[in-house]
Symmetry: C2
Subunit: 365 residues, 2 copies
């Protein structure tokens, strides 16, 4: 394997060619790296800004072997990479970052919460559900309403359903396809926060200021960052991020979604981890215009064995996703003096599809 | 022709695939455009971050016709584009921006200075030189030392020589290859400034704060921006930029190099135009980390018929070019907390070759 840090001119691989892969590729180019993307859609958004694209499914053995051979390190824009794919990449001769452990934990919601609790990161109470009987028992223990989610896959609110009462258990169980699931107790949170953090090959950790997130219909709408939080909350979030990164022996950028639970009777508040994403994260897009080193460059630095970049914010940012035909707002957004547009180069503006985001600069820090 | 503003998803063409083409392509991608580059070097720096590359000489008729057909607008990263090439592009059906007038003026130093004086932008005294006799006469009029330059081509100090005295005239005439030339009087300037400005299709003009430039051996080493100048100097530079842009009916970003001549006995100072570059300019690289809309995005906005972006600086930047093997400094630069690296993806670090630049953030504004 090539020695770290990988010099400019090295080739990096990205599995997945959507907007996250595209912005990773752009950050890698700025540091002088060449990028090859593997994605089944020809001429995908990330492929169009990269040196090359291997047009193949994410788990295509030949594609993965070729990608691993061409690249000194391979990373991914989504967490549902099968363990077998990672092995193929490694057989090609590439490092893979983040590693298989992070993927395995992030792919299974029961594994994930079990891991989180083990490293001291609190979550809502939960129960594994493999049958309707399990679900009924779990509802009795955790109370209703509770949230039933498939253990694997699902994102942006897909594959999950609220169970309002015990007599709705069967309906809910069917709604998620009678698949292995997790039941999560409801959290009495006042807002959703997230923290983006990175860990280098040498174990160094860098944490960005918290963002406050507003979701609509299960999909992120807006992140305000740095969030208005006290120093204790920021410190709690940093401790959680560090525990997760170290517990996974993680290399790269990771997003941690948090529930902010205010303290009662003047006591300390708490942060519960909702979920972790072993990749750059939509709630970290604000760093592109709020920080000297954004989450994309940070991820590239980490996986290439470079020193991590600074995470201090120099501006207050309001990041808003443009979904579906909201992307047509580019005309008016382009005329806003303090708005920075990031368009993903996607062809079809299907309803709800993430097409672009805008970072509005709300003042310097 | 497609109506302005060109929507995201349109295809832009760039003639020339070096670092300027690369950074233009990256800015265009961020706005959702697809980019095709034409450059004779396969897998050139800009081609590696673009959807496609036409591997052909800059004046290759077939390449130009194909580029013009594929693109809604074509621009260039250098000014020595022959007029015939522009016609070919237009025949393919593309707009070309900036237009032929700007190219013609910028390609001939006598035409350039004549134009500048006509629109009210002062320059040093100069004379066209077509023979040794012309040179001797010009030296008698302008005095020695004076600077002899070829009328066409030459950049970064190439194709020019100082003539110290009349008896060195023949030596100088031979040194520049006895080609059509210009003799320029020496300017008593205290420093070199530059201004980057843009003009939209609708005639709107946007001007960035001035930069102060330090050259070494005829090659730009450092730009400090915004330069420490008084409001009158900034206003003078803006008036010059506006006169040049309007005089050329220009669309896109243009760089104007200036000599700062201090006022005598407390009088007003003057700015003389050294030269204009009808393209994004090395002395504007600081805008990438000092402005919300950098010169590359600004150029793309202008040629795509979008509204021009804001030009206010939010940070003080020191931009330094990394020439030849200085690019090896990436290791230490990557560890500097307030440095932002921009590497060009060039293979061979030949002496003096522009390989990268670094923007050091010297405080917010």
């Amino acid at each position: 394997m090539s020695a770290f840090p990988l010099p400019p001119g090295s080739t990096l691989g990205i599995l997945g060619g959507g907007q996250l892969g595209r912005m990773l590729s752009q950050a890698a180019s700025r540091l002088g790296f060449n990028v090859i993307v593997q994605d089944p859609q020809p001429n995908c958004p990330a492929g169009r800004v990269s040196q090359d694209q291997i047009v193949a499914a994410y788990d295509d053995p030949e594609g993965l072997t070729a990608l691993g051979r061409a690249c000194q390190v391979v990373t991914f824009e989504f967490e549902n990479v099968p363990a077998g794919s990672v092995e193929r990449l490694q057989q090609g001769g590439a490092r893979v970052a983040p590693g298989p452990r992070a993927l395995a934990v992030a792919q299974d919601r029961v594994e994930e919460k079990t891991f989180l609790n083990r490293v001291g990161a609190a979550t809502v109470d939960f129960a594994a559900v493999d049958s309707l009987e399990d679900l009924t028992a779990a509802l009795a223990r955790l109370g209703a309403p509770a949230l039933l989610k498939t253990r694997r896959e699902g994102y942006d609110g897909k594959g999950q359903v609220w169970v309002d009462s015990v007599d709705k258990a069967e309906l809910a169980w069917r709604a998620i396809g009678e698949r292995p699931a997790i039941l999560e107790a409801r959290a009495a949170f006042t807002r959703e926060l997230s923290v983006i953090a990175a860990r280098g090959h040498d174990g160094a950790v860098a944490v960005y200021p918290l963002g406050e997130n507003i979701h609509e219909g299960g999909v992120l709408r807006t992140t305000l960052a740095p969030a208005a939080v006290d120093a204790a909350t920021q410190a709690r979030a940093e401790a959680i991020a560090r525990a997760v990164l170290e517990g996974l022996d993680y290399v790269g950028v990771l997003g941690v979604e948090l529930f902010d639970i205010p303290g009662e009777d003047g006591g300390d508040g708490r942060l519960l981890v909702n979920e972790i994403a072993p990749r750059v994260h939509n709630t970290g897009h604000w760093t592109q215009d709020g920080c000297v080193c954004d989450q994309f460059e940070q991820h590239i630095r980490a996986i290439a064995g470079w020193p991590l970049g600074p995470t201090k914010a120099h501006a207050r940012i309001e990041m808003t996703n443009l979904l579906g035909d909201e992307v047509d707002q580019w005309r008016s957004l382009a005329a806003e003096p303090d708005a920075r547009l990031h368009l993903y180069g996607k062809g079809e503006a299907r309803p709800g599809r993430k097409m672009a985001h805008v970072n509005r600069i709300k003042g310097s820090l």
